[in-house]
């Protein structure tokens, strides 16, 4: 399986994703420059974290117009796999590839810390190897991660099982206190209706190396490999 990690000007988690996929999981992985139109026959595209174009307007609002994004959108619309992490999720939302929007955190501060996530469905490429009851310790690092969707969209997300992750506490309780940014229904990650585009605010690539003492994020990548290789 060949992964492509898009590099926008201002991306800063691109190398971290490349390291996890290439060094830890031994996958073929290339970086895709935002000015290019060539996805280099990748099977899976990752939009990494960072501050694309400085995020001075709305996070992701400019990156979605990058040349490579026109190819990514076409690829996704044809069923190609795309995952956006943090800024990547914001770009996917701006591009309309996943429902909802990411607002400023309710406390109005950037927030970086370990939080806990609870997978909400096993019926997705990125969660199928996870459990529904175990809370995963994964870091967040964002100022605009407050997921919002209107009532109709929320109903659709719930009805169609599109919610991938919710914020929870260490014991797995999905509570107000465990919500780091004010996200509606504690939503941390969603997929599109066709279940080939995935967005999440937390950073699984920062919780994959044993050296860092936390590999709770590895399961997300392993889910991808397991399904696609099978």
């Amino acid at each position: 399986m060949k992964f492509g990690v898009v590099v926008f000007p201002g991306s800063n988690c691109d190398q971290d994703s490349v390291d996890v996929l290439g060094n830890i999981l031994g996958q073929e992985v290339v970086k895709l420059w935002h000015k290019d139109h060539d996805l280099q026959q990748c099977d899976f595209i990752i939009l990494p974290g960072g501050f694309s174009f400085g995020d001075y307007l709305r996070s992701g609002a400019i990156a979605r117009f990058s040349p490579i994004m026109q190819e990514v959108i076409q690829f996704a619309n044809k069923g190609g796999y795309v995952m956006g992490i943090c800024n990547g999720f914001q770009i996917l939302a701006e591009a309309g590839l996943v429902p909802g929007a990411l607002l400023h955190n309710d406390h109005r501060k950037f927030n970086c810390k370990n939080i806990f996530l609870k997978p909400q469905t096993l019926d997705s490429l990125v969660t199928n190897q996870l459990g529904l009851n175990k809370a995963l310790k994964i870091p967040v690092a964002h100022g605009e991660g407050n997921y919002f969707a209107d009532a109709d969209t929320l109903k659709m997300l719930n009805d169609q099982d599109q919610i991938l992750f919710k914020y929870c506490d260490e014991a797995g309780n999905i509570s107000l206190e465990s919500n780091p940014n004010g996200s509606i229904q504690n939503i941390a990650g969603v997929c599109n209706k066709q279940r080939n585009v995935f967005g999440l605010m937390p950073h699984p690539e920062r919780a994959a190396d044993s050296l860092l003492g936390n590999q709770d994020g590895l399961g997300i990548f392993e889910s991808i490999l397991k399904t696609v290789d099978a």
Binding site: P9, G10, D16, K109, F110, L212, G213
Partner: protein, 741 residues
Amino acid sequence: MEYNQLTTLETANDLGLRPEEFERIKEILGRTPNFTELSIFSVMWSEHCSYKNSITWLKTLPKDGPRMLAKAGEENAGMVDLGDGIACVFKIESHNHPSALEPYQGAATGVGGINRDIFTMGARPVAQLNSLRFGDINQERTKWLIKGIVKGIGDYGNAFGIPTVGGEVFFDDCYNVNPLVNAMSAGILEVGDMISATSFGVGNPVFIVGSATGKDGIHGAAFASKNITEDSVNDLPSVQVGDPFQEKLLLEASLEVIKTGAVIGMQDMGAAGIICSNAEMSAKGEHGMRIDLDKVPMRQPNMEPFEILLSESQERMLIVVEKGREAEVQVVFDKWDLNCIQIGEVTANGRLEYYVHDELVADVPADDLVLGGGAPVYEREYKEPAYFAENKKFNIEDITEPEDLKVAAMHLISHPNIASKRWVTEQYDSMVGAATITTNFPSDAALTSIKGTNKALALTIDCNSRYVYADPQKGCAIAVAEAARNITCAGGEPVAITNCLNFGNPYVPEVYWQFVSAIKGMSEACVKFETPVTGGNVSFYNQSTDDGPVFPTPAIGMLGVLDNVENRMSLDFKKAGDLIFLIGENKNDISSSEYLASFHKVSASPAPYFDLDEEYDMHQVVKQLILSKVIESAHDVADGGLYITLLESAMPRGLGFDIESDDEVRKDAFLFGEAQGRVLVSVKADKEEEFVELMATSEVEFSLLGTVSEGDLLVDGELFATVQESKEVFDNVLHHILGQA
């Protein structure tokens, strides 16, 4: 004033130059300078650029060592050899004055500046730290400063994409008017890949790259060399505006352009802008430059020559390129959509000649502008202040021991100087780069793994400025010792330091005495720990007209290395039942402790107990304990004393402690005293014998304090609190004062 008009002593005075300096300038030029030229000298000879009032003493610091690859003063930052072909470039710098006026941009551009110092040498920054000092946290202005400064550091560093892994935050009324903002960065490169800040080769083109030049930050370096007064608000244009997105692009483009091999020299533009980089690079390469100022990309029309030269617009670099290879450079900056404009070329005569539309507007010799060249050097007089002798009269017996020490313990846990700084640190991305080991292994120093190797950097900034005020020589030696202790407790080997010397007005003899004494203390300790001084920054004039100088604050940024990251050590107790030992000795000492200062409100006391030789010996035995895998945790006893150290080791895993106090010393001194040279360790019961045997190979004192408990905090059988209730308070002190938002 017209740029070409000849100047007078009055103008020189307005620009902050002294009469004898004006005379010297006329002598150098052989004529009266015009306004542009005088402006050039005023910034280049400001304290900020020339170190004229500090260099005599800075030269006494130890700067040699077997690992040194670029020594203090040689390049933009110090560079040390970490072995296996890997080198580390690191430096700390202040941005105090801008942050006092415009906290957000002042702090943000401090972060930008220090990182450019690192990547201009060809190193990729991998970790940032900062040291912040504020006044009374309950004052509205202080809250405004904290919120602005922390957000400024966060927004810049987070977008730049390098983790902020450590630092310190300290509050004292002496910083009410003049906060301190010191930013540190460390970068990694391969030995031999360094790019120097030099310029040579007649005819080689000179490029300016990065952001356009605007009117921001003009005379910023001169501004940093003045006291803060009510009129300082008029200096607001002296504060620069930062753009971390441009900085990120500049980082990637700079590292990429170095790989072309076409670059002769490169220097960032920070303090004193174009003129400083032109002068320093030319002086180093013993050449000159002809520069066409009208070619500089400008952000606004009608900029005067002196404004273009002195502008401190951020995110710019000056690059001297091998003639004929311009296209290779251009293609890199085109890729990153950055300006890359040739503005001049290298000349043979050692002069800096500035033209506007082919008219010569300034002509000055490069070497006479810079430190080590013609910049003035002053020996300032100094005098021991009266308070120093007063402090020594302090007697612990004059302090009544409180009946209920639990109240004092809770006071300390609730104090902003002791409590968790997570309100601050969680606003920084501490994990980008996926190399921060200490996220999940809390340690006394931040540990950053060096990708592709088994090594890790250990980084810390330390300075208890209350100790330094009490006794500058001893206090500064303590700052170095504490930094080394933190590195050691994290499993690292101390390698070298960078310093940020924040003091008051050097023309006040009592202030200068603090400076001289601190330098002496730093020297002693750096020699002992074999940690040469690789450079740093001097920030004088940290005082206000009303409140006098801030505490002398020589922040010590120390770099350590772990050759094998498996030898790291964390500070948290691992398991109930483990034994708790104190390495080092209890002392009947509460001098300059947080307990004495804020609980008893006594400010006149000497620095706490400290013995440099004992301290060093203690570190060596801690290293052995870590390498021999005999201990489960190590945490140094610092601010707040032993009780706070115990609590900090207990909290991460929700454990507690059950200890007995020492009959030889007062119980308040035992619990809250800040005598130096102590480290708290925990040991599995079945390793006790091994531990005692290893300790017996040294002369270092140690004692069994008790055991790790399930969560109760017990001293002599008395329940002080539970870990849960203590943690609840400890974690939320700053949130309660500063609010959630």
